[in-house]
Structure formats: structure tokens, C-alpha cells
């Protein structure tokens, strides 16, 4: 096994609760090296004799990245390891330095589109997965001190926010919130739209 070096530069990329393990390829001229990945949660370390659990989707893979999102599904400290395999030869395990906790994921502001439909203020939010809620702040442009809030837990296409006064301009910004790690993203850029003017017919 010592002939096959362990994978190096093992790291975890985690954005918006999607977590990926990556490593540098092990180069063996004229041969296809494969890799296998295993994870260990705090429970396995403390209560299951430090056991490791294989990730079947990343067993004998030729890729140098593994989606570990499904397995990093508790807010505890995890360790990951990967080894190279070439036929019957296996390298030693390369293990992540330190621990990974999904609370460390980086959260980006939500993608938001604000729409005025007559007197109605609506928003379209990009779906970011079941872990995410959206906190929307909106206000009438001239009344920045009277900000209103709405929490949207499930994304559907056009979410109704509120009704607007005729002819007034309203502004909206949003941030995501992940209850599982009790953290929020920064706010999206503010978007403003104009409510339809009053269409009453004036008798002259």
C-alpha cells in the first residue's frame, strides 16, 4: 500500500448547506486511480468506537470531489477521510485536518425578484433547499423607519407580500435563515417597485 500515496490537499467546500469534500488527484502514469470516502460524526467517535461510515456514492469513484451533504446532516463535528485505490492496492487514508461542522457553511444572500402587479407587492425567490427560510423586509420608500417583515418558509413561484398604496414606491430586501444552525445570510441588494397609480375616473 505504501506504493500508492494518500490523497493530499483534502478540504471541504461548504456553501448554503451544500457540502463537498475535495482532494488532489493521485497520479499514476497510464493508470486510472479510484478513491473511496468515509465519514465519522461525533456520535461515532464517542459512542461507536470511532467507527467510520462509507459513502457509497463516493466508493471507487474516479472523481476528486464528493457530495457529502446528505451525510453531514447534524450540527456536530465531523471528520472525513479519503484513500486512493488502484486494483488491489490501497493508499493510507488521508483525513481532513480538524473537524467540520455544518454551522461553518457560508450563507449567501437569496436571489430575489420583486414584482408589482397592480396594487400588489410580490416576490419570486430561488429555491435553496429544505433547510432554508427567507426573511423579507419591505417598506414604503418615503417611510424607511416603518419596515415590515415577513418570513417565508416554503418557496413557491410568486409569493404575495402585501398590498401597496396607489402610486407609491416600495422597497424589498431579503436574507436567508437556517434554523438547523441558527444563522442568517447577509441581505440581498434592495429592489424597489412602483404600485399602479389610482385609476379612478374623474368626471370633469
Amino acid at each position: 500500500d505504501a506504493l500508492l500515496p494518500a490523497p493530499q490537499s483534502i478540504s471541504i467546500l461548504s456553501t448554503n448547506m451544500k457540502h463537498f469534500l475535495t482532494w488532489s488527484p493521485v497520479i499514476v502514469q497510464g493508470a486510472t486511480v479510484r478513491y473511496s470516502v468515509e465519514f465519522q460524526g461525533e456520535y461515532e467517535r464517542e459512542y461507536a468506537n470511532g467507527s467510520w461510515i462509507p459513502i457509497s456514492e463516493c466508493s471507487l469513484t474516479t472523481a476528486t470531489v464528493c457530495n457529502i451533504t446528505e451525510d453531514i446532516s447534524a450540527t456536530v463535528a465531523y471528520k472525513l477521510r479519503v484513500r486512493a485505490e488502484l486494483g488491489a492496492t490501497r493508499s493510507r487514508w488521508g483525513t481532513t485536518k480538524g473537524f467540520f461542522n455544518r454551522a461553518m457553511t457560508s450563507l449567501t444572500p437569496p436571489l430575489l425578484r420583486v414584482v408589482a402587479d397592480g396594487h400588489h407587492l410580490l416576490v419570486e425567490l430561488a429555491d435553496m433547499g429544505p433547510s432554508f427560510q427567507f426573511r423579507l423586509l419591505y417598506w414604503k420608500k418615503s417611510q424607511e423607519s416603518r419596515v415590515q417583515q415577513k418570513v417565508v418558509k416554503e418557496v413557491s413561484s410568486m409569493v404575495h407580500l402585501d398590498t401597496m398604496e396607489a402610486g407609491a414606491e416600495y422597497c424589498v430586501k431579503a436574507q436567508t435563515h437556517v434554523e438547523a444552525i441558527n444563522r442568517s445570510s447577509s441581505f440581498s441588494p434592495t429592489q424597489c417597485v412602483m404600485a399602479q397609480g389610482d385609476t379612478s375616473v374623474w368626471l370633469v
Partner: protein
Amino acid sequence: GACRVSMSMTEIRAGFTAIKANIQSRDPIRTLSILSHPHSLHKVKSSDRCCITHQLFTFYVDKVFKHCRTEDSFVNRKISSIANSFLSVRRKLGQCREQNNCVCGEESTEKFKQILANYEGLNVTSAAMKSLGELDILLDWMEKSR
């Protein structure tokens, strides 16, 4: 004060639902329950709820999950997910106990004794697999009494 613990019940539920049929099919004993008979969790007084919850999370972490290893990689991964979530919640409940917000009354002590007696009445693997198969009994009770 009250003990407020944020936990992602949805994730635990999803993990259990994914393996429920598999796990329950490994438990052939219809006539015995670890959690719900002879005393139902639904009869626990609200003042005892926090303590019973903490005892049950400790029970699952200390006694149950480690004896539920299967030949199925998918099932093992879901059990790991649930076990690590339980560990995270158990820690928060433990903090409540330290702050005396999770007092154990006589009833919860008696109820938990009954659960342990049910558990010890079976061989360890059967008891652990039956307990894991009854996770929805615990989750249903927790959600109802939220």
C-alpha cells in the same frame, strides 16, 4: 424557566421515514413495545416532559443506536444522521438540566424505569432495533406536546 431547545425535527423525521419500513421489518414482536406500553408517553404530565425527553435522548444515544448497525449502507448512514442529531439535542437538553430547567419528577422517573424494564426484557439487538423502530412514537409525542 422553561427549557427551549431548537432542533431540526424535520431532518430527524426525514431520516427516520427513509428507513422506517426497513427497521420495523426487522422487529417481529408485535405484542411488546418499549415506549408506548403499558404506559403511554401521552399520559406524561407537562412538568415532566423535559426530563423524560432528556432521559429518552440519553437512552437512545447511550443504549440504542450503537446496536443497530445493519448490512445496509444506506440504513447505516441514516442511523448515523439521526444519532448525531440526537447527540446534538441531548447536549442542549443537558444544559437545561444544569440550569435546573428540566426537573425530574417521580412520574417521569417511574415512566423511564418502565421503559428500561421493557428494553432489558429483550436481547440487546432486538431491544435496540425495536426502540429504533419506535422513534416515530417519540417524535409524534414531542411534536404534539411542543
